[in-house]
Amino acid sequence: MFEFRVARPGERAVLCGSGTSRRDFLHVGALAAVGLSLPQYARAASEGKVRPGCEKRSCITIFNLGGPSNMDLWDMKPDAPAEIRGPFKPIRTKSDAFEVSELLPKHAEIADKFSLVRSCHHDGAAVHDAGWQIMQTGRRFTGGIQTPHAGSVASYLLGRRTDLPPFVVLPEIMGRGGGNLPNGQAGGFLGKAQDPFALMADPSQPNFRVPDLLPPDQISVARLDRRQKMREIVEGAAKQFEASEDARLLDDNFHAAYRLMTSPQAREAFDLSKEPQAVRERYGLNRFGQCCLLARRLVENGVRFVTINTFLTVFDETSWDIHGSKPFTSIEGMKTVVCPMYDQGYSALIEDLHQRGLLDDTLVAGLSEFGRTPKVNPAGGRDHWPQCFTVSFAGGGVKGGRVVGASDTIGAFPAERPVKPGDIVATIFHSLGLDHEMHLPGPAGRPFALTDFGTDPIKELFA
């Protein structure tokens, strides 16, 4: 059969055995069928790396493409002049510490479960893609080195917990941001093997299924097995591919795919039709809402890291990118389309996780590439502003109902406790029980701390 080992420190746990055959992988699938979803595997992988008590932790990041307007949503300035405060009013919430916008009534009701960091800022360019890479990897890419997404780091260090991939992006990888820069939703220097599994489908569609997850009916288990054996014979000759990362990765993907497609648990996890209609409606019958619901199912089934892209791009799609004019989004679009959708999906996710007892072990981070200008522009919208914006955290050890940091009177710059992108990503690692000072092997053996020197988790959120 097979055995488990942990390779060198810093290396992922790998599945190996004497002449591991594809047949063994089939058995792994079979194991899962009887409920043995490889617990030893997870334990071996996380031994010594994960802070005790955090073994069951997962993370869902909701990436709010476009950059929500903190001034109109969760860091309102009702006393500022009209051209700063904008057209919306704050409302009271379940938390004594903060109010939120009237655009987010459902947030108000669950404000005791999430906390806000109102002093996030970065010094990258005010370009969408630049913020995407900075906020998801904690660093700006320089010198040709692409740093990995926090989810890729978790995949690399902890491996998969079940047959499902450790890191999943819903519904697909982010699209264009206009700056032609890498968006940070990839394994970076950890290699493409740590890239996320992207769903590539819209779970709100009536006929939603994960494309090609299952073999067609005419391919029996016996044939699947035969095909793997045959392929191994053909692959036996191909020594020239060892030095090619793409080619190695393709083979890894064949292993992972085989595992995924033969796993009843994976099939179950992705099957949204198993959810009562009432639950589906509670999340909102739209792409974002159903992605939130799917994220919960994936976390329940052992996925360590899920990233939900609230939108796919900022062009020609109603998004958080409220410049006020085409091809971007108007303030009306934010009010009538984006906010109701987000308010419903987010609050449903938090409540549902809470009711199922999963919230304590699931960090939900609401991130974005930047906030928006303090001043309303002539088109009635607001433009890019990375100098000060708000991000949210819930669950995963984070105490709700709090505010960390503060912006100045017009929301232009942090006034208290400035928080850097590295601090945000370090907070995610902290929640997952990973020490952010631990090192990853970077390109050419250069060690990279999980986050840069001088960054720290926002501990006030947890105490």
Binding site: I145, R227, R231, F241, S244, A247, P443
Partner: protein, 774 residues
């Protein structure tokens, strides 16, 4: 003593007890009353002046001394005062591209309080960056530093401004231009400025440095290179909008005898220059690949299809020493050559039904095909395209102007497609990574401001798509910063008179395709190279910035020279590449070249591009895809006519034709001109599709397909196996492969046999040897 007072004392003045307000008022009146040229710096000597005079004989110059200090300290960076709106009321030009306005900003704006001629130490120019006064940008300058003294001396000298007759910076040199080092070693680089009067000076401490590949070498702000890995890297120095690049060579720790290189086969200049670099890097060239591999590789790279079984047998039987040349000439003349290269250029030129009406797509795609078919020289093709006029259905090239309807996007795409330069950043501000300014951007875009078409307006897919392009004799694009038109000019070319009524695109086309325009030739040569090697000499291929040099500059230069010499006949370049020994190397890594990532010591396996893979699967399985629908920009679909059952993916004139396989395997969506739109990364989703999806399974099980045909003739197991290998992998099976498959087939019952054959083909078509060009 406050630091302000300390600062003031440094300049040798008495301690001054005036309040800050008095300082400001005094400074303001001083500048008003005493124009800088009326003051005589030699009247009194300050500490700074003594120091400075010792350093330099002349009085400090604004252009040559002050600006570099501000740049190095980061004052004019995009995040600081170089931002379009400046910071805290103080605005400098980004990276100092406009010294005249910077001079005014420093000496005149803010009521002149940024400089205090009477008491330089109290100037805001000195008190802010030293944090004597609160400065949001933090501390950028030390009070005791040389730069501080130099700035103080300049103020004390009366803030002499930029002079008309002053010498100008011609170039900078970075030395040593190439340094050979081992990991762990460091080297100090020197930057020398060369001026118009023939003088030069060391400006190392004011230069900014970046490393192009930090896995090989890093560089600190003082210009010290620290080598951390093996290979050849580049570091860039920036000084006063001039850029210089130096190579850092850190040979691999392999021992390769000199006669390995001497004995290595050489066919042409590519091999000479490649081997010279490999020898410097101690990388051993892999031996030539075998004939079967070369045949497959050349077919896939040149015409995007697999060789047929007959072609495989014929080539393997050919023992002539000239077989390679014959093959290459044959491939360059094949009709599929036109399909493949027209498809590639259509990627760059954004031929897509998501943006154009069907009639226009057809005309555009056909125009490109015709140019490839007649082997039009690249410079002519580009000139014709850029100056196209007439009907969108009769002269397909005009659709380039329908895809991009405004002058700005036209300018951006022209530079991206033909120069591989991204100038987009300069639309809102000066380009932070290149020399392009906001003014140059609008000067360039203004070249397109008179392009009009009857029937244009709104969505490019409106109506029947029949439009007539013409050029107005008037009309300007306004530079939004000034509200006035920027005199039209090619990026770094001479501006045209605003009142010239001629088609501005004509001089643009001449500038663009001139042999003197280095970007034009480099861009196309690099694109062609990348096609054949799976990796550009410059990577990414769409980023030809000066600070992103080629992995082998001599080689790229030589190929550019060759291409110009051959009048942009790209087939000549392709022939040179295909016949080089560098191209023919095996992809099998040696211990002495396993770590080679970009120096071409061996061939790099690369996954087939989506369309080629789709066609190859269709060729092997005998079942083609049907292309019946097109996907519009809003995601809706539309019936599509004109493609018959034999249409290959490479014959699609349009990237919006609906096909899940092509999408999953990362075809270029042709939204923007960028090779980055095409993805060749293997993903789990692709593997799931190969395993479970309809493409392979459907084609193997298909009633009309290859497997059905084969089964009808009931061949012997040995034939079944050999034919499959030749079809899919273009080679004969090895004994280790042959035996288990023959055994399985001979033992199979007639009912099982078909499934086994299907599964055998599945295993071949999902093998890396099939999916990759190797």
């Amino acid at each position: 003593m406050t630091s302000l007072q300390r600062a003031s004392r440094r300049t040798g003045r008495r301690r001054d007890r005036r309040t800050l307000e008095e300082h400001e008022a005094a400074a303001a009146s001083a500048t008003r009353l005493l124009p800088s040229h009326s003051r005589r710096p030699a009247l009194w000597l300050s500490f700074a002046m003594v120091w400075c005079t010792a350093l330099r004989a002349e009085e400090p110059s604004f252009d040559l001394d002050v600006m570099p200090i501000l740049s190095k300290a980061g004052c004019n960076g995009g995040g600081c005062h170089g931002a379009l709106a400046g910071k805290a009321g103080f605005r400098l030009s980004l990276f100092g591209y406009d010294p005249q306005s910077d001079y005014l900003a420093i000496t005149r704006d803010a009521r002149g309080r940024r400089v205090d001629l009477a008491d330089p130490g109290t100037s805001l120019l000195l008190t802010k960056p030293t944090m004597a006064l609160a400065h949001k940008g933090g501390k950028r300058l030390d009070v005791g530093s040389d730069d501080y003294a130099l700035l103080a001396a300049w103020i004390e000298a009366g803030c002499p401004g930029p002079k008309e007759d002053e010498k100008t910076l011609d170039a900078i040199e970075l030395a040593p231009a190439e340094s050979g080092l081992a990991p762990g070693q460091t080297a100090q680089l020197r930057v020398t400025a060369k001026y118009s009067d023939g003088s030069s000076r060391d400006v190392t401490r004011w230069a900014r440095f970046t490393s192009a590949d930090e896995t090989i070498a890093t560089i600190d702000p003082a210009g010290t290179v620290n080598v951390i890995g093996h290979g050849e890297g580049a570091v860039t120095a920036w000084f006063s909008s001039q850029i210089a690049v130096a190579r850092v060579l850190a040979p691999f720790p392999h021992t390769v005898a000199a006669d390995v290189y001497a004995a290595a086969p050489r066919a042409n200049v590519i091999d000479e220059l490649n081997l010279a670099q490999l020898q410097k890097l101690h990388l051993k060239p892999s031996p030539p690949c075998d004939d079967a591999t070369f045949l497959r590789r050349a077919f896939l790279d040149t015409i995007g299809r697999l060789p047929s079984p007959e072609e495989v047998h014929a080539y393997l039987a050919d023992r002539s020493p000239r077989r390679k040349e014959r093959l290459v000439d044959l491939l360059l003349a094949r009709p599929e050559f036109v399909d493949y290269w027209a498809y590639k250029w259509s990627d760059i030129l954004l031929v897509t039904g998501a943006k154009l009406r069907p009639a226009a797509v057809t005309a555009y795609a056909q125009w490109i095909r015709d140019r490839v078919a007649e082997n039009a020289p690249w410079d002519r093709l580009v000139r014709e395209l850029v100056t196209a006029r007439g009907s969108s259905t009769q002269h397909g090239a005009t659709n380039f102007f329908a895809v991009h309807q405004d002058p700005e996007t036209l300018a951006e795409n022209v530079s991206q497609a033909f120069l591989a330069l991204s100038i987009n950043c300069a639309k809102c501000h000066n380009h932070p990574l290149e020399k392009w300014t906001n003014d140059q951007y609008y000067a360039f875009a203004n070249l397109f401001s008179r392009v009009r078409a009857k029937g244009w307006g709104g969505d490019s897919r409106n109506g029947d798509g029949i439009r007539t392009l013409y050029v107005e004799s008037r009309g300007e694009l306004l530079q939004p910063k000034t509200g006035r038109p920027q005199p039209p000019a090619p990026l770094d070319g001479e501006p045209l008179p605003l009142d010239d009524a001629g088609d501005r695109r004509e001089p643009l086309a001449r500038w663009l395709t001139a042999p003197e325009n280095p970007y034009f030739t480099r861009a196309i040569v690099n694109r062609v190279w990348a096609n054949f090697f799976g990796l550009g000499l410059v990577e990414p291929v769409d980023d030809l910035r000066t600070s992103n040099p080629a992995s082998n500059e001599q080689l790229l230069d030589a190929l550019c020279g060759f291409t110009i010499e051959h009048h942009f006949d790209l087939k000549q370049l392709m022939r040179l590449i295909l016949l080089s020994e560098t191209y023919a190397r095996s992809s099998m890594p040696l211990p002495e070249n396993r770590d080679d990532r970009r120096w071409f010591a061996r061939a790099y396996p690369k996954r087939l591009m989506a369309e080629v893979l789709s066609d190859a699967i269709a060729d092997v399985t005998g079942v083609r895809d049907r292309y019946t629908e097109t996907v519009l920009a809003d995601g809706s679909t539309q019936k599509l006519e004109g493609y018959d059952d034999d249409t290959r993916a490479l014959e699609l004139g349009d990237s919006s034709v609906k096909n899940y396989f092509l999408d999953t395997f990362g075809r270029n969506a042709r939204e923007i001109t960028c090779e980055c739109e095409r993805s060749s990364q293997p993903s789990l989703v692709q593997v799931l599709h190969l395993s479970n999806g309809s493409t392979l399974n459907g084609k193997l099980a298909g009633k009309e397909g290859r497997v059905t045909q084969i089964m009808a003739t009931d061949p012997a197991p040995a034939t079944l196996v050999e034919d499959a290998w030749i079809l899919a992998l273009s080679r004969k099976p090895t004994d280790a492969e042959r035996k288990p498959f023959e055994d399985m087939l001979s033992k199979a019952t007639p009912e099982e046999k078909r499934q086994i054959v299907e599964d055998m083909y599945w295993s071949l078509l999902t093998s890396r040897e099939f999916l990759f060009r190797h």
